[in-house]
Amino acid sequence: MAIKTSSPRKGGIGRVNGPEGVDSIPLRYGDDPYVWACWLYYEDGMTQGEIAEAMGVSRATVNSYLADAREKGIVNISIEPARLASLTIAQELKRHFGLSDCLVVPNDDNTRPLIGRLGAAGAQALAKLVKSGDTLAVAWGRTVLSVGEHLETGPLQDVTVVQATGGTTANFTYTPELTTAAVARAISARCVNITAPAVVASAEMQRMLLAEPLIREQFDTLARANRIVFGISSLRPNSTIHTSGFFESVPLQHYLAKGAAGVLAGRFIDERGRPVDGPLDDRTIGMSLEMLRGIGTRVAVAGGFDKVPALLAALRGGYVNVLVTDAATGAGILRADGVTSLDGKLSQRQKSAPVANAYRTHVKKFLNNPNDVVEEMLDGLIAAHKPYLQPVPGSRRALVARNGPRPGKVGLVIGGGTGHEPCFVGYVGKGLADAVAVGNIFSSPPPDPIAKCAVAASGGAGVLFVYGNYAGDVMNFEMAAELVEEQGIPIRTILTTDDVMSSPVEDKEGRRGVAGNFFVFKVAGAACDRGLTLDECEAITRKANDRTFTVGVALESCSMPQTRRHNFEIGPDDMELGMGIHGEPGVSRERVRTADEIVDTIMDNIFKEMKAEAGDRVAVLVNSFGATPLMELYILFRRVEQRLAAKNITIEANWVGHYCTSLDMAGASISILHLDRQLTDLLHHPCQSAILTINAPEPDEAARN
């Protein structure tokens, strides 16, 4: 019973949790705590901690119930989930593409390079498939070379290993010659190389070479191949195909233009697996696609998301009947080909009946005309915040601080789409941003209002653009910067990139900017207000961004005023970790846990990157995405404070509330600014805006310490 099925969840946390503990075993478990524990663990997918709570026993007891259940034979089949998943994917690939077999390598947190894992798996497959007397064709490539390096077979006799294409320059290790030799050596087989180049100068040369008796003999061997092992190359810019020297770049562009999606044994296929003709066809010496498809056992070894279109093309074209890939790529191929049944099979969570949807399809909102929301909001906002800001003449999408810009001061322009209120308009005022450009909902403003803002903010000392790192904002702000620089106003740009979950640390510059904007704006505004130079303001702002870390969790998606529907559904028991502030899906879907556990996950991710030591000081922002109330934010803050205190990190200042929202999304983010002396000083610099006002420091610090 270890294989998890999708029965509806029965014992929820807390519901069966009574003071009487195991005495209150629900009837259906027949008074057997072992069966109950196993059911909750294997069928309901609960953790041991959750089960302990549900059963009212200790975790250790649950652990021993589960262990004993194995011994007693209550549980008698067990497959490790990662292997189960890879097996499920393999079965599904086999079924969907009509393969004779499929081997899928489990994901292992990428502790080992993919090429090596695929090579080992390919070797395992070949060892089973190759028999005495076989002729095995081998195509070149990194993955296939890795197969050769891992290959170990039992004693085989009379096996011939033959190179599937001509040769290439030897400036890399996985040439056709070396790849073939590696496989032949591993099997102790006779090795037949094709002693001609893979690509020759002319069609005539190709004909002449193929007519040479020696090469004809080699091709006769190739024609006898009853098995082939080959890799699949993508045509993506990072593919080795571009650097291997196998093809010149000019003809490659030709094949790309004709829709080539992948390369097998030096031959191009389109996304449906049809051959793509081009100038290299009659200059290539090697196995044709037709020959390849005529071989009995065709083992393809390939993995990586970049290769999904190429793999899919090869599978659709019937070039593969044994596939060796990894679990993530395999699932990707199926998803890309529209197979959705997999998600249900892989998921250990139960899909709940869509009761909520039947109850209500539209979210209620205060609206007049949904198409006028931004304009009407601006009417209200400009009236409400009159003391702090006003429209730049000629554009309501460019708002300037009343007491902000002044001669000799670096101007600070912020901006972005609407729907994040109080971001960004709430941070315009003296000591903060000088002007804000306002876009449509979740859409960057066009260059025109941004340029107007820059002109309005300019005091002759240059202007800083500070905004979140999104493709649309980058393009519009860049176009605006070009316009304004033509007018002699120097522009410096700092993209905020505080969202830790949106990209790995190696791609820190690729991260998006979220609620941590708040700290970056505050510091930048203070630096500008202090009258620092453009260079200094830029450097300080960059430092503030580098030291700001945010992680967000969404419980429900947001709904646009125009559609009044959730952008997508987060399941009833789920949360989305790393959710963006535009309702775009996050990086992973997980089960909702307790507030403390969620904060722990968030803080663990932040601590991983923030190199804070005992005695350091930070500023904390616990931010609602829109629908989450203050009550819950304080519960989150409580745990943030505990985690920081445990590391002896002092909270210099904190804010809890709605600071950067995503319409009516339920969820919250936690941002930490890792302070140093300079940032601390600028954080306390006075400012006045609609949302954030800091007065000159007063001795009220005692309350915090």
Partner: protein, 211 residues
């Protein structure tokens, strides 16, 4: 009075706006799966603004190039977002490409498609296979170039162009997004069509219908 080339081009933009209106909800839905769910709305606002801007133009005297640059400015001022700079740069390039042309023959249409695709590529710094609107515009422009080089008829030209566009859009489902907000999803974007590519095919079809 027969329609002049500028009027025909303006009618093309009108048709584009119509097809976007029809597809609006579907585009937003596609975007909801891998982006922020507003693509249909943004495109709708943009093309309405294009037509509003063109309405102010005297089409009896306007050149093809003026129609294109008016469309470019109208689109950009209305939407921003990422589609704003991309399409407005594409249309602005097309305005340059059509500067010496007064007729909308197949060569002019080819130039327009090539200019739009190059403008989008240069502004967005994306490449083929990144799961973007370029996966439609580039193949469409290439099909147009080939069709003109091979001396194809008008009907053959547009059927080759729309087929290339449709194929390109369909292929985005097999790609992992490398640009824009969907790029954060990595492999979770597999199996989903790119909304920008789908709207691009709608625009190409509108061109085919009116040209």
């Amino acid at each position: 009075m027969s329609e002049n080339a500028a009027q025909a081009l303006a009618r093309m933009f009108e048709r584009m706006s119509q097809v976007i209106e029809t597809e609006k909800d579907r585009l937003s839905e596609l975007d909801g799966a891998i982006g922020d769910g507003d693509h249909g709305i943004t495109m709708s606002i943009g093309f309405k603004a294009v037509n509003a801007a063109l309405a102010k133009l005297d089409l009896d005297t306007a050149t093809l190039s003026e129609v294109m640059s008016t469309a470019a400015a109208g689109f950009l001022d209305a939407v921003g977002a990422s589609t704003g700079p991309l399409y407005s740069t594409g249309f602005r390039r097309a305005a340059q490409a059509l500067a010496t042309r007064s007729e909308l023959d197949l060569a002019a249409n080819r130039d327009m498609l090539v200019a739009i695709s190059e403008g989008i590529r240069d502004r967005g710094k994306a490449q083929r296979g990144d799961k973007t609107m370029l996966d439609v515009w580039l193949p469409a422009a290439e099909a147009a170039t080939t069709a003109v080089a091979e001396g194809r008829s008008k009907q053959e030209f547009w059927s080759a162009v729309t087929a290339a566009a449709d194929n390109g859009a369909a292929a985005t489902a097999t790609m992992v997004a490398a640009k824009g907000r969907a790029a954060r999803l990595r492999e979770r974007s597999l199996g989903h069509l790119d909304p920008g590519a789908v709207s691009a095919t709608a625009l190409v079809r509108a061109m085919a219908e009116t040209m």
